[in-house]
């Protein structure tokens, strides 16, 4: 404990000296450390941006207890790849549309990025993106999952997402009748 405290103080001084470091260190739930560029983190994640602005970044590894190391690795990977990719023209075009937040199709590298992930890793990544407030990553991952959900029946969705069915039989029948067009294939 004493050692830790002393180390903490040393960190304090180092922090002042290196206030303009250009990376942040993130610590996963199982204690692994990851480095990501400060600029990319602030740009892609609202939560990390808030932390950087609020000065609550710990140079020794900011604890992200909710995120496992695999998911965090993917997040960092995504941040690095995003920093390297050139923003597409769609992102800067201004035009009237009906969306408050227009959905942009995942770009090629983003598609590849989520395609190589396993089912579990993808779910972890969605949760991590959600937790960190990373809109774009959430877009890309949710898009992938919703594509997987396409054509599935409510029962199958319940199974995949582990949702408990709390409808009564009558209610379910009512929904099926009212929204028959959504259940043609069943």
């Amino acid at each position: 404990m004493e050692v830790d405290k002393g180390k903490g103080e040393a960190e304090e001084t180092r922090k002042v000296a290196e206030a303009d470091r250009d990376t942040v260190t993130l610590k996963s739930s199982d204690g692994k450390l990851f480095e990501v560029s400060k600029e990319a983190a602030a740009r892609l994640s609202t939560v990390l941006a808030g932390m950087i602005a609020g000065g609550s970044i710990d140079d020794n590894g900011t604890d992200l207890k909710q995120i496992g190391s695999e998911a965090l690795e993917n997040v960092v990977d995504y941040c690095n790849k995003h920093a390297n990719s050139i923003p597409s023209a769609a992102l800067i075009s201004s035009s009237i549309s009906f969306n408050t937040a227009p959905f942009k199709e995942p770009e090629e590298w983003e598609r590849k990025f989520v395609d190589r992930l396993s089912h579990d890793a993808l779910f972890d990544l969605v949760e991590a993106a959600n937790f960190l407030g990373m809109e774009r990553l959430l877009d890309v991952t949710c898009h992938k999952i919703s594509e997987m959900m396409k054509g599935k029946s409510p029962d199958q969705i319940r199974e995949v997402f582990n949702i408990k069915n709390d409808y009564t039989k009558e209610e379910l029948e009512e929904i099926r009748q009212e929204l028959a067009w959504a259940f043609y294939d069943d």
């Binding site: 035009s95 009237i96 089912h119 919703s146 409510p154 319940r158 997402f161 929904i175 959504a182």
Partner: protein, 460 residues
């Protein structure tokens, strides 16, 4: 999307749509239990949504309040998760996939590629249904790809029934109740009607009146008139495109110079780019002067911030209105246009024939029109109705004539004379306007253009 654009997308409340999805779900106050065992009621969602990070932390099961938490107070009223933990332990599933919180699932559903997936998600459990039916969810989060970001049920992809008069005529109270969106692909029409309900005092300005102009792809084009000041010359009218389901709307000006009197509006929806175009069109007929027959158009494009293009004149010499016709054909009143891609088709039934006027809006370099003359056998309704229509036109013209006065009456006689002998060139009554050639022939004005020169200032 810039912040300015967001402001223009005012939430509109003129039509409250009865969605079967949300009938019961709105008022449900579901009490659910988090994994920690703390009780949460579903409170005000809007507070949490401002901070996605803060919102989701409440639903991640292990709730740790961190020193960097930007909104710790929002933990209390966050959406709790329905009983997902209980089942996971039972091991009913084959794989050990970590259960996703419903918040995340709602995010996924909101990014669904098609409405069907969303409805099926909503059918999985009560909480999902409540979320999907939540108006703010639809308004703020839903981005269905296949509908161009607009959440449009197949049910609502049809057209607006009921009267669409055109600019300047707002709906009467009786007509308001007759506004329906119907699905034109449905076999049984009666079951596929969705009524648009206009509330008596719409939010925003209580003095707005609506003039439905056109509808396509589940979106409605309205002219909105603000009657809050009673000076005629200060009357303000805008165009508004509304999505009845997501309640997004976009208001834009009618453009300068103002639209021509009697213009019709056609609403064109782009593919999946969330873009739209508004076509302002006016068809002018002229019994004698083929060169005066034209379609005058102007196009509003929502791309690049939304601009009205210049007014263009496209000659339609073969569209013969006939002698008894008015000098213009109000397209909106006459027939609802058929729009295929970016080609607009109007069916024009005039005195002299039946025509299909086709306008290719997206043609390069400029829109192209083509007139197809339909065979005489084309069914046009009863002849009695035609006679009534022509009598109406004649009566209207007589009224106008009276107003114009005696000088006009003289010309009217000329015209009546010509009606009797339509194929003869008009006798030059006012010879002073024509120069006599030394050789004896009349120069200066060709017969074909005579009516144009002599009568144009009366009939314009």
């Amino acid at each position: 999307m810039g912040p300015g654009l967001r402001q223009t997308q005012v939430s509109w409340a003129w039509a409250s749509l009865i969605l079967v999805l949300g009938q019961n779900a709105h008022h449900q106050q579901t009490e659910v239990v988090d994994m920690d065992g703390d009780d949460y009621t579903n409170g005000d969602e809007a507070d949490c949504r401002r901070h996605p990070g803060a919102l989701q932390r409440t639903s991640l099961g292990t709730r740790t309040s961190s020193p960097w938490d930007p909104q710790p107070e929002s933990l209390g009223d966050g959406d709790a998760v329905s009983s997902r933990g209980a089942q996971a332990s039972r091991g009913r599933r084959k794989r050990q996939t970590p259960a996703l919180p419903l918040d995340v699932l709602a995010e996924i559903a909101a990014r669904s590629v098609d409405p069907t997936t969303l409805v099926r998600c909503a059918a999985t459990c009560r909480d999902m249904r409540r979320r999907a039916a939540d108006e703010s969810f639809r308004r703020r989060r839903l981005r269905l790809r296949h509908t161009g970001g607009r959440f449009v049920l197949p049910l609502l992809r049809g057209h607006l029934t009921g009267p669409t008069h055109g600019l300047g005529i707002s709906l009467s109270d009786g007509e308001r109740d007759k506004q329906y969106l119907i699905d034109t692909t449905a076999a049984a029409m009666a079951t596929k009607l969705t009524r648009l309900v206009f509330p008596p005092t719409p939010q925003g300005s209580p003095h707005e009146t609506f003039e439905p102009l056109d509808s396509r792809g589940g979106l409605i084009l309205l002219a909105v008139r603000d009657n809050s000041n009673h000076h005629y010359y200060q009357e303000r009218r805008h165009l508004r495109v509304c999505d009845p389901v997501t309640r997004h709307s976009h208001t834009f000006p009618l453009g300068q110079p103002p639209p021509l009197n009697g213009s019709s509006f056609v609403f064109l929806v782009g593919g999946d780019q969330c873009q739209f175009q508004v076509l302002e069109a006016k068809l002018t007929l002229s019994p004698y002067d083929r060169s005066a027959r034209c379609l005058r158009i102007r196009i509003f494009t929502s791309e690049h911030g939304g601009v009205w293009g210049p007014r263009t004149r496209i000659p339609t010499p073969s569209l013969d209105g006939g002698l008894y016709s008015d000098y213009e054909l109000p397209l909106a009143k006459h027939s609802k246009p058929l729009v295929v891609g970016d080609v607009v088709h109007w069916l024009c039934l005039t005195q002299n024939g039946s025509y299909v006027l086709m306008l290719h809006v997206g043609a390069t370099p400029s829109p192209r029109a083509r007139v197809t003359t339909l065979p005489a056998s084309f069914p046009r309704g009863s002849s009695a109705r035609r006679r009534r229509a022509s009598a109406h036109v004649a009566a209207k013209r007589t009224r106008v004539d009276r107003r114009v006065g005696a000088r006009r009456d003289r010309q009217h006689d000329v015209e009546r004379e010509r009606r009797r002998l339509p194929l003869m060139p008009p006798p030059p009554q006012r010879a002073c306007r024509l120069r006599r050639r030394p050789g004896g022939g009349v120069a200066g004005v060709r017969h074909g253009n005579w009516i144009n020169h002599e009568l144009s200032h009366y009939f314009r």
